[in-house]
């Protein structure tokens, strides 16, 4: 589903990604880990079509980035650490706006909005302004926005930032539920335990390259921190 080969991204003379290779199979859930500055967010922005590679090949669902970015964008749902919502609109109005941008017909729009809100547990708050929502509720609404157009690929860029324990647990359940639908998911995180528990595959970035890529089930949770430290050269992990 996602193929990345020899990806290089440099900002001026500063290389961030240095020949990164990555394969994400259809329907898999990849947790992308790595210390700050390892290139996770840069890679996510390139996959989302928000940033152009300096060199290398990126394809999503068979479409090339950045040449076929519009086709890729229609297949993507993105959830970032910011909810990307409008505070002065209600939950339903936010989703209705994005439904129009993703060219959902008026007929399917309302049904999808109702289903998405129900799915993230916000059906009862559909007509409330987003500014009255807690951080956790905003993040759940952001997920409803991301799945509204039934994308094939979902990108989650540190979605747990700023969430308390309860909200994070709800997000865990929601992510697991969404993963079972068959979406291809890539999620960046600093939480090793959570990432390992949720994902089907793990990739650890280090200095702009994939230092480790494996199946989550094959990794013993108790040795994962040591593996991570070994790959990244980190003295300690969160």
């Amino acid at each position: 589903m996602i193929e990345v080969a020899g990806l290089v991204k440099a900002f001026g003379f500063l290389p961030v990604l240095r020949g990164l290779d990555l394969h994400v199979a259809r329907g898999s859930f990849l947790a992308l880990l790595g210390p700050n500055g390892s290139g996770k967010t840069t890679l996510m922005r390139i996959l989302a079509g928000l940033s152009k590679p300096t060199a290398g090949r990126v394809t999503i669902g068979g479409w090339n980035l950045p040449q076929e970015a519009d086709a890729v964008r229609a297949q993507l749902g993105v959830v970032a650490h910011l909810p990307l919502l409008y505070d002065e609109l209600t939950a339903a109005e936010n989703l209705r706006f994005y439904a129009k941008l993703y060219s959902l017909t008026p007929g399917e729009r309302e049904a999808r909005i109702a289903a998405a809100l129900e799915r993230v547990g916000l059906a009862g708050r559909a007509n409330d302004l987003v500014r009255t929502f807690s951080r956790g509720m905003q993040q759940r609404l952001a997920i409803a926005r991301a799945i509204l157009h039934q994308p094939h690929v979902l990108l989650f860029d540190e979605p747990y930032t700023g969430l308390d324990q309860e909200a994070a647990a709800m997000l865990d359940a929601l992510l697991g539920d969404i993963a079972r639908d068959g979406h291809t998911i890539v999620m960046t995180s600093h939480d090793l335990g959570r990432a390992l528990g949720l994902s089907s595959h793990v990739a650890i970035l280090s200095r702009g390259r994939v230092g480790y890529h494996g199946c989550s089930r094959e990794i013993a949770p108790e040795s994962f921190a040591a593996l991570y430290a070994d790959v990244t050269g980190a003295a300690s992990t969160r």
Binding site: A74, L85, L174
Partner: protein, 242 residues
């Protein structure tokens, strides 16, 4: 999650999806901006308050006789509209950027031109609301009616050109740290021909000059608007894309 909650399984294979229609995206953006502004009134209140204060200061500072008022009122009007407009332009895209929503808009499969026209139209509406209020205020404070059909046409043409260039340049300055100061520095020199043409045409119309002597000004404004809209539309994609 509860079993009763409906899942939305994705299709087995990625299928090409159609790009959202240009005007559908444009109107959705404008409607969203206006709806949010109607609730929050973050921009329009600041613009209107600035406009009222500026015109009041002008009216007290310039204690003019009728003849002097007729020659200077167009300048007062346009200076107020332009500076109030810059307040709105500065915040319009900055609000999207600060909340990360600019990325969300860029993630949507829409033409970048639709994004430009959507933001430009909402900025234009804000400026026209300010202009509408100013028409009433100036009529009351300076005892000169601005409800002249040709003058209204010039106001529309002038604000369209200003909003077009302003939307483009604010999308550039929104990425800079000193965006509040950068926008006027960039915008005023570029829009100087539009401002001067609008002031010249407005002054001539208010002074009752024969139409043959000023009709070239609105015609020039119309041509400038077409050129600026086309250029802004073309350049916007390069400005917002990395």
């Amino acid at each position: 999650m509860s079993d009763s909650i409906r899942s939305t399984p994705v299709p087995a294979a990625a299928q090409p999806r159609r790009k959202t229609g240009f005007w559908q995206a444009t109107l959705a953006l404008t409607a969203k901006d206006l709806r949010a502004e109607l609730r929050g009134r973050e921009l329009i209140n600041a613009m209107l308050l600035y406009a009222v204060l500026a015109v009041l200061i002008f009216s007290f500072a310039l204690e003019l006789d009728r003849e002097a008022r007729e020659t200077s009122i167009a300048g007062v009007f346009w200076v107020t509209v332009i500076f109030a407009g810059m307040l709105g332009l500065n915040r319009s895209l900055a609000a999207e950027k600060d909340r990360g929503n600019l990325d969300a808009l860029l993630l949507a499969p829409i033409d970048r031109g639709a994004l430009f026209f959507g933001k430009m139209l909402s900025n234009l509406v804000y400026m026209l609301i300010v202009a509408g209020l100013l028409i009433v205020l100036v009529t009351i404070l300076f005892n000169i009616s601005l409800l002249v059909p040709w003058l209204l046409a010039v106001i529309l043409l002038g604000t369209v050109g200003f909003a077009a260039v302003g939307t483009l340049l604010s999308s550039m300055t929104v990425h800079t740290r000193a965006r509040e100061t950068m926008l006027p520095i960039l915008l005023l020199p570029v829009t100087l021909p539009i401002i001067l043409t609008s002031v010249k045409a407005s002054t001539a119309i208010l002074n009752g000059v024969a139409q043959a002597d000023w009709i070239a000004w609105p015609q020039m404004l119309l041509v400038a608007d077409v050129i600026l809209l086309a250029l802004s539309y073309i350049l916007f994609e390069f400005v917002v894309e990395e």
